[in-house]
């Protein structure tokens, strides 16, 4: 685990803030170009198999010890829920949700499971200025909630609108999202809970590169069944979880306007609009830090070191 001490973080963000002030286009605090992990694991999601039973939602709830749902997991009325003109989205209490779509001309609905796509080059990671996010060699995009300051940059940066924000804790507001069951399963080589629970094996777990071959093979063997595209093969630099569909992806709620390049460039644009925030943040946190350490002698900042070790 690579964590940073508060002092390092402050130094880093001051430097970052200064860099943005002078040359917004050359953002220096982000992870820069990230190559991904060739042996990383992934999940092939075949929409044509999903029957909308929501077992995966229940499995995630149990595995991630999330709060009880508002409605039972076998209640299909949730598919009719519309909030702010949109179908259901992932929340801090539901890291994955299944939505129903009615593609034009299709005689049956299409169900789509939504969770973090564990991007090869995650926009959440590159947008996070305290380095709370990490892409593990196993393929998961995880985050350190001890480091998260709740700034919500990643919420804006994520092209799939995945990270959700805990509004319930005013003291320690943090981002929450699907972690590929990293702690409990992935790091031991086991498939995620949602994948294992699915009666239809909508999700196939394996090495990303192997699964990509299987995805193309399925299209080749059933040209009438699938649209000739693997969503997530190239979108935003490639995603760890990728999709096959029988209907055009936009009709199953996918954003088909995403570029092939990692989203980092767009994040830069966004950040360039609000350099103000970045320039005041360091000052803000320096202020907090001074308040927090008020009365303590200089050079005696070891009070954080027990849970925030330096180095990588």
């Amino acid at each position: 685990m690579s964590k940073i001490s508060r002092r390092k973080f402050l130094a880093g963000s001051v430097a970052g803030g200064a860099a943005v002030m002078m040359t917004p286009a050359q953002k220096s605090f982000a992870a820069g170009s990230f190559e991904g992990f060739p042996e990383g694991m992934g999940v092939l999601v075949d929409l044509t198999r999903c029957v909308g039973c929501r077992t995966c939602e229940a499995a995630c709830n149990l595995e991630q010890k999330l709060p009880a749902p508002a409605l039972p997991f076998d209640d299909t009325s949730v598919f009719d829920e519309i909030k702010h003109g949109q179908k259901r989205r992932t929340t801090d209490k539901a890291y994955t949700i299944v939505n129903r779509y009615e593609p034009k001309g299709a005689d049956e609905p299409l169900y789509r499971k939504i969770q973090c796509n564990h991007c090869n080059e995650p926009a959440c990671l590159t947008s996070c200025f305290v380095n709370a996010y990490k892409k593990t060699p196993e393929g998961a995009v995880i985050y350190n909630s001890k480091v998260c300051v709740g700034c919500r940059n990643c919420m804006i940066a994520c092209p799939f609108h995945i990270p959700a924000y805990t509004y319930h804790s005013a003291i320690n507001p943090v981002i929450k999202k699907c972690i590929f069951c990293y702690d409990t399963r992935l790091k031991e080589g086991k498939p995620p809970a949602c994948v294992e629970s699915c009666p239809q094996q909508v999700m196939t777990f394996g090495k990303r590169k192997d699964l990509m071959k299987i995805a193309h093979e399925r299209i080749k063997k059933n040209p009438g069944k699938y649209v000739d595209h693997v969503y997530g093969e190239h979108e935003v630099g490639g995603t760890g979880w990728f999709y096959l569909s029988s209907a055009p992806f936009e009709e199953a709620g996918f954003d088909t306007s995403l570029p092939k390049e990692p989203i980092i460039n767009n994040v830069k644009d966004f950040l360039a609009i609000v350099p103000m925030v970045l320039t005041i943040w360091p000052a803000l946190f320096t202020g907090f830090h001074l308040l927090a350490t008020k009365g303590k002698s200089h050079g005696h900042g070891d009070d954080h070191s027990h849970d925030e070790q330096e180095g990588h």
């Binding site: 198999r49 039973c53 039972p72 394996g206």
Partner: protein, 174 residues
Amino acid sequence: MVNAGKQLMTGLGVLLLISILAMSCYAMDVFPDEVEIDVLENLYEGVAFDHAMHVDATENCSVCHHHTTGTGVESEYCAKCHDGEKEMDSVSCQNCHSADPVSAENLHNPKPDYIYHDDKPNLKAAYHLNCIGCHKEVDGPTGCEDCHAKTEAGDKFYHSGEFAPKESAKGSGH
């Protein structure tokens, strides 16, 4: 013919995922009348699958089985390697569809049958894809509880039945 029955019996002994309740193994049309499927029995009770009824309804084993004792393999992809004329020894689903194909061992060092059959659904999915896929076409039952009775553990898992959220909790989701 007898081999097919023997294979079924071996599968029964090894995994105990399917128990064959009644079999008539010695006639030409070798098949069990009823198959008890209890792979999901944690959340759902086992299913007493009426095999004889499905044999009557479909009349051709290959509607459900890739390998059959009565007819050759039908898929063009199978026929490339497997002799389309020859009958197969392995007939029952769990002879080839493993309950847990994603073991770490299998991912890093695939067994020979996963090198060619690298996209083989696990046993649970083999059943459901086959059953629900056909039931959709013929208007058979497709809901979970049309075939399975949910157990208490299932109700707990789905937060349903006696474990359903209280009415007051309904409005709280933001």
